[in-house]
């Protein structure tokens, strides 16, 4: 490194630029190598597998061309799972954003025990999914679950509700628990942004006659629009690919009503032992996720 920096003194601007470019290449090389190893290789492998019939236990492989894709796109499973995935993603994302922004606004105020409240809010996010799901299944249990008991005590329901075994309950419950698990991410990002909004703006607005709702829509929301766009994009991608929470909570049931695309991939690969089909599903999912990022990338490019 040091030797590189001590290269012979550059005389012309071009030489200088060349030297900088060389150094730049060298500096990013490790990152490029690592990224290739952990991203490009699995990606290439998946694409390769998706063009073959693969028997999972032996990984015996035979060329299949595009037949996997043809089967997926002409069958009903993919489209049904895609619809289910979209319902889950949009539902849970909307709730995450709603709860997340509301909680961030609350935590940004001068409430007592603010520091404690801020760390408590992060709790669901840091909890292992397995643990969270077990706790929730226990809370929602029809025989001894706290939720049913509380609702009955409040007189809202007469008999225990089957939260996870019927539709639309199962989807609604999954969406709500997903929101509970992941909304802290929104809180952290939004809270960080809120703290950078100059207090003088709110004071000026108060003098200008803006009430609290007007201050929210005219000052807070415009400041949040950037971070909300980014957070929504990230969460959308992650929710779209969410596997463990749904798998552990409902296993895709009742029937296939909560079986989202990642669960289908798992089922294909390890339930039906068709690794090639699973890979084809995965490639399709990746293309869908890529499509989601296009509006964001376009906007970022437009801003520059």
């Amino acid at each position: 490194m040091a030797a590189l920096l001590r290269l012979r003194p550059a005389t012309s601007p071009q030489a200088l630029a060349r030297r900088d470019a060389l150094l730049g290449l060298l500096l990013i090389a490790p990152t490029v190598l690592i990224l290739s190893a952990v991203i490009a290789y699995p990606l290439a492998t998946t694409a390769y597998l998706s063009l073959h019939n693969v028997y999972t236990p032996t990984l015996a492989t035979e060329w299949a061309g595009l037949s996997n894709y043809r089967a997926i796109l002409s069958g009903g499973t993919f489209w049904h799972a895609l619809a289910t995935t979209l319902v889950w993603t949009i539902g849970t994302l909307a709730l995450q954003l709603l709860f997340g922004v509301a909680m961030a606004l609350l935590l940004n105020r001068n409430i007592r025990l603010r520091a404690l409240a801020r760390s408590l809010v992060l709790f669901p996010y840091f909890l292992a999914t397995v643990v969270a799901v077990l706790v929730w299944r226990w809370l929602l249990n029809g025989l001894f679950g706290v939720v049913d008991h509380a609702l009955i005590a409040l007189g809202l329901i007469d008999t225990p509700v089957d939260w996870l075994g019927t539709m639309p309950n199962a989807m609604a419950t999954t969406i709500v628990i997903g929101a509970w698990k992941f909304f802290p991410f929104v809180v952290i990002a939004v809270l960080a942004r809120l703290q950078t909004v100059p207090a003088h703006l709110y004071e000026a607005a108060r003098l200008d006659g803006a009430g609290s709702w007007a201050r929210f829509t005219d000052i807070t929301l415009p400041h949040l629009s950037g971070v909300l766009g980014l957070v929504a994009l990230l969460r959308m991608i992650w929710d779209f690919r969410e596997f463990d929470l749904i798998y552990l909570l409902t296993g895709g049931g009742p029937l296939d009503h909560t079986r989202t695309l990642p669960l289908v991939v798992y089922q294909q690969a390890f339930g039906l032992n068709q690794m090639g089909m699973a890979a084809a599903y995965a490639v399709l999912m990746m293309l869908l996720v890529l499509a989601m990022t296009i509006p964001y990338l376009a906007r970022a490019r437009g801003r520059r």
């Binding site: 100059p198 003098l207 006659g209 803006a210």
Partner: protein
């Protein structure tokens, strides 16, 4: 035009007393500058009047009405902040129109008023820009426009010019004076800058440690500082404050400071005690004349400013400054003779720090000038 009254207003933050029993009546149409060291509570006073902070006790009245129960928006007050506080996501036109929009003024009327104001502030070509695309001076004008657009009865300024460079600052100072003359509104203006305070104000309020020290015209503040703090704070270079003693023989006052003895002639002071009086003497640099005179001093520092030179003198144990027109040929270490304008000396009680009033001072002063 509105009269503003602070009636024993107090504000405390945790263990800091930001404003301590403020009593102040500001007559309609005054341009008051608030002057004082950092942290003395100037902004707090302004923010309490605006309704952004609630006083712990006391009342604030605008035109005789207690505004304690009114929100900032209901107080008919506009404020210009040091940071301008322009809404970054709105255009200049939207920024200026915002107070009107929040008050339900119709769109056409809003546009008309924004346009008229933009013309008078010379920002008409900027109306479609956003604040980030403006220079500091332009942002300042937009902030001014937003304050003026709804024609409030009181204007508040919290160090509005301190982010501008010296030249623009002098220019804006002139514009604000002109604005005050044209609108005739009551204005309260917080500043660190003495020049700003002296040139813009019809009245100056000097504060220290949350307490009002003196409220008066710039001439009052400069020529008759109410106490040692005001005397030392206002004026650059600062007034020399030297402890000494006044002795009276018949009605002649003899002043002893730092080894100098000054015969002040016949002087009649209010509340004169019997015997020696421990006082602090205040001497402004312009009241020291160099060349000849009864006293001798060593020059310990020379600061040429261009149109004048500030000499620091050591006479006995006393240190004082003198102003000399133009540049000085004197050298550090040299001994010079000097005289004092005896009728322009200021006296303060050593214990209380309060100004010692002289009976018939104005007449004597008039003759001395």
């Amino acid at each position: 035009m509105a009269e503003v009254v602070f009636d024993s207003v107090c504000k405390q933050y945790d263990d800091v007393v930001a404003v301590d029993a403020l009593d102040l009546t500001i007559a309609p149409g005054e341009m008051v500058t608030m002057l004082g060291p950092s942290g003395c509570g100037k902004s707090t006073v302004l923010r309490m009047l605006a309704g952004l902070v609630m006083p712990d006790s006391g009342r604030i009245l605008i035109d005789g009405n207690d505004v304690g129960g009114l929100t900032p928006g209901e107080r008919d007050i506009a404020m210009v902040f040091q940071t301008y506080a322009l809404y970054p996501h709105m255009t200049v036109a939207q920024n200026i129109a915002y107070p009107l929009r929040k008050r339900g003024v119709a769109r056409a009327e809003r546009m008309r008023r924004v346009r008229a104001l933009a013309e008078s502030l010379q920002i008409a070509p900027l109306l479609d820009r956003r604040p980030a695309q403006l220079s500091g001076g332009q942002q300042q004008r937009v902030a001014l426009g937003r304050a003026m657009v709804r024609d409030p009865s009181v204007f508040l300024f919290d160090e509005p010019l301190s982010n501008l460079d010296a030249k623009l600052r002098a220019h804006m100072r002139g514009e604000l004076i002109e604005l005050h003359r044209r609108l005739g509104r009551t204005m309260i203006y917080v500043t660190h800058d003495q020049l700003e305070a002296m040139t813009m104000a019809t009245r100056i309020a000097v504060m220290a440690d949350g307490a009002l020290q003196q409220y008066g015209t710039p001439a009052d503040i400069y020529d008759r500082p109410a106490n040692r703090f005001v005397a030392g704070f206002v004026g650059t270079p600062a007034m020399a404050l030297i402890d000494g003693a006044l002795l009276f023989q018949d009605n002649r006052a003899i002043l002893g400071i730092g080894g100098l003895t000054v015969d002040l002639g016949i002087r009649r002071f209010r509340d004169r005690p019997v015997g020696t009086w421990q006082v602090t003497v205040g001497i402004r640099p312009e009241d020291v004349t160099i060349g000849n005179g009864p006293f001798a001093a060593r020059i310990s520092a020379i600061e040429p400013i261009g149109h004048e030179t500030i000499l620091t003198l050591e006479a006995g144990t006393a240190r004082l400054c003198a102003r000399v027109a133009g540049s000085s040929l004197a050298a550090v270490g040299e001994t010079v003779r000097f005289a004092l304008r005896q009728h322009r000396l200021h006296f303060f009680d050593v214990v209380s720090g309060r100004r010692i009033d002289e009976i018939g001072l104005a007449v004597v002063d008039g003759k001395a000038m």
